[in-house]
């Protein structure tokens, strides 16, 4: 059965050089094969790569930025506010995508399109304003040097409305920091892979959307019944209240207990002062309100305010687990107010908290070990838990000052300059590692090494399962679970919904099969959707291998092989190189790729049209 509804079947392409905007039709075949969100992103990025003969500078005008919500985005069902941003990443030089929550994606769809793509470069700093079916490129050089929030304020004033959604970049994006993010709805960021720098390179300060259109749904009655069932299931879950109260911050305690919490630049995996930065501390002393993405009952966002001390008045949405761990325990900071302040600063400047936390951690450790001299770090001492120095370094990164200029180009540039840093920097393919240690779970290592965007946990998060029940897993099982996650989790990004109801509250994935069916009228089973998702993984692999990736790049940071955590339940553990290579071979085989990690020609044929 074919697509009957669920899409506008429209693709808006904007060329900033020519200042042109074209509405193109999307064919049913395209929609069925790529579904939406990340699927559309990967396909359009691939087509653009082919068009330019695989020669694209991520920060050049030819790089195509694709912003796409999914068929379920904005529809009444749990957490349907997601939107994907995809392009060739300036952090890795390979395929990159990142998704943002909030309501930006919903409003984007309501302008009557399924996907927006942008290339070219505006002459001066501009914004793209999509007002229902009208598209306008407005020059706003006055936005130069403004933070994400300041820019949003100026834009609202200029447009004379507060009923729009803004996806803006900060100073870091303008300065082409390779891990700059795109900020929507105050603090819902498309954080990873440097999408913000791509917007900066295009002189595009913000994309502003205002849409009024009905979202197409095939069978609204069934959709509502199914959604009510899903919401009810979530509400009755034993951890539902905990999620409303603490959001992702409850993971700090869990990660510390299991020994996977990054501490002192992953030198350790338990943090003795974890109680000062965990969810309970936040709720007791800082939290002043909840914040949720569109149609989400879990409201994992926490609005926090510092009420006393030197950071008084800092108010931000967050931090969530990753930010708190990377800017907290990973830097030895045990003052929650300082973490909030750092998080807020990162949001305002528009840089990714995960990469930032990693790089600053490496600088502190590098200086401690003598790899970096005092003059390397601009004669400003820095040590674990030194809040002032850390905050200062964050600004230096975004403004490209001193050592910040080198850090802002990411891990690869740092290693180029100081080869010894290879031993303490945690990155895969140039993207810094997320806040889950992998030394205790080789499946998590495999997940980082084979993730299409670099060392990020979004594709497969297997560490918890492996530690809880993985003692007797065979190698085959370890690979299977990584591939299963890498297939199911991206499906959420394709449908345009958040995966937290599924992964955290155990909402059955069959609900999404039904949602897709009721929204689009297409009778596809979950298995068929997963096949589509698997194809997209092949496609992103194809993009990466076409750009030179092979087995040698699917590797792990030096520390993971050679430097065990010092204390905690996983003290002494590392991943054995031979074990890992064995696993990798099984992985390629199960994927149907050759032993060097290259997909066969049959894969290429699939994506020719």
């Amino acid at each position: 059965m074919t697509i009957k509804s669920g899409y506008f079947k429209k693709h808006l392409h904007v060329n900033l050089t020519k200042r042109s905007a074209k509405r193109l039709e999307l064919s049913d075949a395209f929609i069925e094969k790529y579904i939406g969100g990340r699927g559309f992103g990967a396909k359009l990025v691939w087509d653009n790569l082919k068009k330019h003969k695989f020669k694209i500078d991520p920060l050049g005008p030819k790089n195509l930025l694709v912003i796409a919500a999914g068929p379920l985005t904005g529809v009444y069902l749990p957490s349907s506010g997601k939107c994907s941003f995809a392009a060739i990443s300036p952090a890795t030089g390979l395929y990159g995508d990142s998704s943002a929550g909030g309501s930006f994606g919903v409003e984007l769809r309501q302008t009557g399109i399924d996907v927006l793509s942008i290339d070219g470069r505006a002459k001066e700093l501009s914004i793209l304003f999509m007002d229902n079916e009208e598209t306008e490129i407005i020059s706003m050089p006055e936005l130069k040097g403004k933070t994400c929030l300041e820019a949003e304020g100026i834009i609202l004033e200029r447009l004379g409305t507060h009923c729009v959604h803004v996806a803006a970049i900060g100073i870091a994006g303008e300065n082409l920091v390779r891990f700059a993010c795109v900020n929507t709805d105050w603090s819902r960021n498309a954080g990873r892979t440097g999408i913000g720098a791509i917007m900066g390179s295009k002189n595009l300060k913000a994309v502003v959307v205002r849409g009024h259109m009905d979202l197409p749904v095939y069978d609204i009655k069934k959709q509502v019944v199914e959604a009510d069932k899903a919401y009810k299931y979530m509400e009755e879950h034993k951890y539902f209240k905990l999620w409303q109260q603490q959001g992702l911050m409850n993971v700090i305690e869990y990660a510390n207990e299991k020994g996977i919490l990054p501490t002192y630049n992953f030198r350790d995996t338990v943090f003795s002062r974890h109680a000062k930065i965990n969810g309970t501390e936040m709720v007791d002393h800082y939290k002043i309100g909840d914040s949720a993405c569109f149609a989400c009952s879990m409201c994992c966002g926490n609005i926090c305010l510092v009420k006393n001390g030197k950071y008084t008045g800092t108010v931000t949405e967050g931090p969530e687990y990753e930010s708190c761990a990377m800017l907290g325990s990973n830097l030895g900071v045990d003052n929650f107010a300082a973490i909030l302040s750092a998080n807020s600063l990162c949001d305002e400047l528009g840089i990714d908290t995960i990469s930032t936390g990693n790089l600053i951690g490496a600088v502190i450790e590098g200086y401690e070990l003598g790899i970096l001299s005092l003059s390397d770090i601009d004669n400003q001492e820095i040590s674990w838990g030194d809040e002032d120095a850390i905050l200062h370094l964050i600004s230096k990164i975004a403004n490209r000052q001193g050592i910040g200029d080198i850090l802002s180009d990411g891990s690869r540039r740092i290693i180029e300059k100081w080869p010894e840093m290879e031993k303490i920097l945690l990155h895969v393919k140039g993207l810094e590692q997320s806040a889950y240690d992998s030394r205790a779970g080789i499946s998590m290592g495999l997940s980082y090494a084979t993730s299409d965007i670099g060392a990020h946990h979004t594709r497969a998060w297997t560490i918890a399962k492996e530690m809880e029940e993985g003692q007797n897993w065979s190698d085959e099982e370890k690979v299977d679970i990584v591939i299963y996650h890498q297939t199911l989790r991206p499906l959420f990004d394709m449908l345009g919904v958040c995966r937290l109801p599924w992964i955290e509250l155990g909402l059955n994935e069959r609900h999404y099969e039904n949602f897709y069916r009721y929204v689009t009228g297409r009778n596809a089973s979950l298995e068929e959707l997963l096949d589509c998702s698997k194809d997209i993984y092949d496609l992103t692999r194809l993009i990466n291998t076409s750009l030179g990736t092979s087995r040698k790049d699917d590797t792990l940071p030096y520390k993971v092989y050679a430097r065990p955590a010092l204390t905690g339940p996983n003290a002494g553990k590392v991943i054995n190189r031979d074990d890992f290579q064995k696993l990798l071979s099984i992985y390629y085989k199960k994927r149907g790729w050759d032993n060097n990690g290259l997909p066969p020609d049959s894969v290429k044929k699939k994506f020719e049209n």
Binding site: V106, L215, V224, Y231, G289, D290, S291, A292, A295, V315
Partner: protein, 177 residues
């Protein structure tokens, strides 16, 4: 209708479920822009998330300004007679809360009808930020908060069977005058 649809902004997370269920109930579509309730979000100073919805005022300005008497108040609700309404939107301008809405697809203003006494938004709000409260009980939580803020709260830690506990008590009259 003796109960009032009441908003408790401190509880609101800004998820907009109220908007989407309202549009589904009244127009049969997924479109938050066709709802009679809208969540207004402001940040960072001040941080607010607050649904704005018709309060069915006892002295409704919208009724007063309607040039064709399409709006009237009966059974405790402000009601819109769509046959009389000329969609001049005077009511939207007159409402002091901005709680009446319009959409280009809709012939008439969009105004809350309380879903016949069982509002969808109240039922589906995951945070309890929207409630139906009898008029006689309106303001009770504010009164309690006011009383509590008038006194100075003290905190005492103590141990009961080895377990740490905290009690709060009010020290009345100790605040600086």
């Amino acid at each position: 209708m003796s109960k009032k649809l009441t908003v408790i902004p401190e509880q609101c997370s800004g998820c907009k479920i109220c908007e989407i269920v309202c549009s589904i109930k009244h127009f049969g579509v997924n479109n938050p822009k066709k709802a009679a309730i809208r969540v207004i979000v402001t940040y960072p100073h001040p941080v607010m998330r607050m649904p704005v919805v018709c309060g069915h005022c006892k002295v409704p300005t919208c009724v007063e300004v309607c040039p064709v008497d399409a709006l009237c108040r009966s059974d405790g609700l402000v009601k819109l007679d769509k046959n009389t309404c000329i969609s001049c939107y005077k009511c939207i301008e007159a409402c002091p809360f901005g709680a009446i809405y319009a959409h280009e697809d809709c012939e008439h203003p969009i105004q809350c009808d309380m879903c016949g006494g069982d509002p969808e938004c109240v039922k589906k709000c995951p945070k309890g930020a929207l409630r139906l409260i009898p008029e006689a009980a309106l303001g009770e939580s504010k009164r309690l908060n006011n009383v509590l803020s008038y006194t100075q709260m003290k905190e005492i830690e103590f141990y009961e069977k080895g377990e740490k506990k905290i009690i709060h008590y009010a020290e009345i009259g100790k605040e600086e005058l």
